[in-house]
Symmetry: C2
Subunit: 359 residues, 2 copies
Amino acid sequence: MDETEVVRRLTKLGEEIVEEIRLEESPRIRMPQRGIGNIIFNEKKNILELGNKKSTRSFMNVAHSRKFMQTILIANKCKEFVGRDKTASIRELYYQLKHTIPGTKENTFDDQSESDPLIVDLETALGVLREELHLKADDKGTLIGRIRIEDSGDVIDCSKLGRSGLSVPSIVEHYKFMDFEADYVLVIETGAMFDRLVEERFHLKNDCIMVSTKGQAARGCRRLVHRLRNELNLPVIMFTDGDPWGYYIYSVMKAGSMALAHESRRLGTPSMNLVGMTMTDIDTYGLDKVTETLKEVDRKRIKELLQYPWFRKKQWKKELELMAKKGVRIEQQALASKSLEFVAEEYLPEKIEKKVMLP
Amino acid sequence: MDETEVVRRLTKLGEEIVEEIRLEESPRIRMPQRGIGNIIFNEKKNILELGNKKSTRSFMNVAHSRKFMQTILIANKCKEFVGRDKTASIRELYYQLKHTIPGTKENTFDDQSESDPLIVDLETALGVLREELHLKADDKGTLIGRIRIEDSGDVIDCSKLGRSGLSVPSIVEHYKFMDFEADYVLVIETGAMFDRLVEERFHLKNDCIMVSTKGQAARGCRRLVHRLRNELNLPVIMFTDGDPWGYYIYSVMKAGSMALAHESRRLGTPSMNLVGMTMTDIDTYGLDKVTETLKEVDRKRIKELLQYPWFRKKQWKKELELMAKKGVRIEQQALASKSLEFVAEEYLPEKIEKKVMLP
């Protein structure tokens, strides 16, 4: 969405409120409900979405008026950010808006926990991403591979960054993909495995763009992978630890999260597949000596995952039930027990070529 | 240290053991003690160091023999890594070495908690860094600024990386600094503040190289800053939150940590200064509305810091006692309450120019 459209939506919100005041009606903001009762798994698109239930925040309702005031302050500040071409962290936004209302002892905001959920409200009410409102979350993640990206006037050749790679910022809306030479995107959970594959020059030998999420992916990283998928039409393959935590990281990258269901369609990559680690790998590659015993907290998490609609697919159910039955989990780095090069020279190329992947 | 020397030291360790066996003596490894009783704060150099007390690990001592065997396995594997020009994460090392000893039910290693401390033993026994043994820790951190770095054959112009910056890897030994145009290095605790300064083009307007640690600094980041200081003779200035946690991150960057005292001299940057946030800033810049109340855990941490030799300096003692007295802490991002640009256009340039910094 271009910035003119974002400003238009913010302005429209303000104009509607002014109009309501002029008509001596109670000003109100309408937005989709975000509770569990309005979160739907769209089987066709393979993502979590918000349903059609709406709620209304009304200034003249005493229970709503503080939040109403705060929402308007945030909308106003975001309009300023976009207009001035500035971005701000959600913490900076809070500090920018926090003040005592003149003539009272009332603070606009007492804590960031008041402003954060209202940002989500504004995103859903306007149908824009927080990045489009010029708000930033934390950044995390690294990219390497044969792609040239234009970033703020610089053209960065991401295959000429040694073993270091490009630090993925929190906002990637301004990235322009220039040209690339790659057959797919490989998303890697751990920094250590990413380093291994960089050292083995996997991205160059196998024509792929590699992205490391370093644990649960930051929003910038999710959005970047989404854009690589959709704008360059590249298949995306993910490689995580073989445990419920790694699989959850995958599922958020793929289908979105409950908390941010309204953003799945612009942060999720529903077509992606998981190459490993799987429970089946343990037998196929004789890795039972290098598994780890499940803890109670792992078992509990497996049960929770089995409740998620996208883990109810036959292949996933099989893997998760096998994990519980074997009572073990397995890490990406356990492949080093074969040899340091095994993951890059045998495991990944074989599984990817034969498409031995989970949906 | 060049790789020939690392291999020489590893080989010498092995040869001494072989010689002891030939003489029918109990093979042993000598190394500095790492307990608190042998950690010294070197007032002159301003870093934590190990003292002269030694301990001996002997194969014929039943309490030592398992660890002795494990230490030798690690030394052997590291020699292989260096010889083959491969690096491995400490987790991969563990997986590479874990196996059942033939004819027994004994595993070489049962858990990574067995191999990790032995890596430190080997580092101290040989006087080499783990990075020189080709072992990697996790990576974290971003660099941006007018410096060209050669990394594995690529020359990276770190001023042409848009708003993204270079991802700092876990090992930076292979970095070659080509040329640079900078007056100092600015190390920034939070990713969000780093982003702010990048957006304000602070590094270009103020001729500095900026590095973000994103919380407690990873080893690669500490080593990189150390090298920028020592090889390019650049002053280093750090910018953290004004709380005991930020100050501790500073102190580790500067003087090293208790746990890794043997490495301070190659990871620490004792000459660095802290520009903020300080308790004095709160009054100077009228920030009392945007402080946060100290929690019990913060107060406890302040007391602990006051025990550290390098926080006993007059200026530091004053700041820490003022923090306890005011009962508040302050974040870097609280400066956004003035304006988004305030930190880049007024706060930092003024304090740096006038050298209003802590030792």
